[in-house]
Symmetry: C2
Subunit: 121 residues, 2 copies
């Protein structure tokens, strides 16, 4: 994970603040208790589906990089089928984003199919 952000000591953030990288220092921005987490991961095998399922059924948003399995047709089909089933089970949403990502979202969250900026993801 590239940490673009660094928590600045003051309210007027200097440009050089964004050069440094320490995400733990930046954690403080989300101070209130979260009702939902965005979990990010990169799936390398169908063996990892249970871990993903746990997050999805736990009510979290899951953003997965599927590039490692994209060229393995059997694994890809298995994974996409399971993602779809998970989304149906939780009455949530599932959508591909860009070439390599899939987003799974709980029932209260929907992936907007229109882009806010730009034509291609």
């Amino acid at each position: 994970m590239v940490n673009w952000f660094k928590r600045s000591s003051g309210s007027s953030a200097a440009m050089e603040d964004y050069k440094e990288i320490d995400l733990s220092e930046y954690e403080g921005v989300a101070e209130e208790a979260a009702k939902m987490y965005i979990k990010v991961g990169k799936i390398a095998s169908t063996n990892e589906l249970p871990a993903i399922k746990k997050e999805v059924y736990g009510g979290n948003i899951v953003i997965l990089d599927i590039s490692l399995i994209k060229n393995d047709e059997i694994a890809l089909n298995r994974v996409l089928r399971d993602f779809k089933q998970m989304a149906e089970d939780i009455r949530g949403d599932v959508a591909g984003v860009g070439e390599d990502q899939v987003i799974l979202a709980p029932t209260s969250v929907k992936v907007d199919r229109t882009r806010i900026l730009g034509r291609r993801i």
Copy 2:
């Protein structure tokens, strides 16, 4: 947007369902009214910050590809500074994901800094 998914006609999804690509057909999975949308975009200019701000202040999750401005130091700093300010304004969260993405989330949603799978995003 690559549409990995296609809505199957029955409950037992056959593998070939995932070959075809028509996201509009798949929309039906998220049937309930969403409280929040995940908006995806690719920022090409600081002129697009107001559009992003509108989505963020509207309570949505915004996932932005910043690859187009990554090498323009002035634009990148401006954009990251504004993202951070937006997150502070809404008491939300902001985090970099991978090389090219930034996620902005409302106060009830937090980006988990630990990965569910894999070491690198």
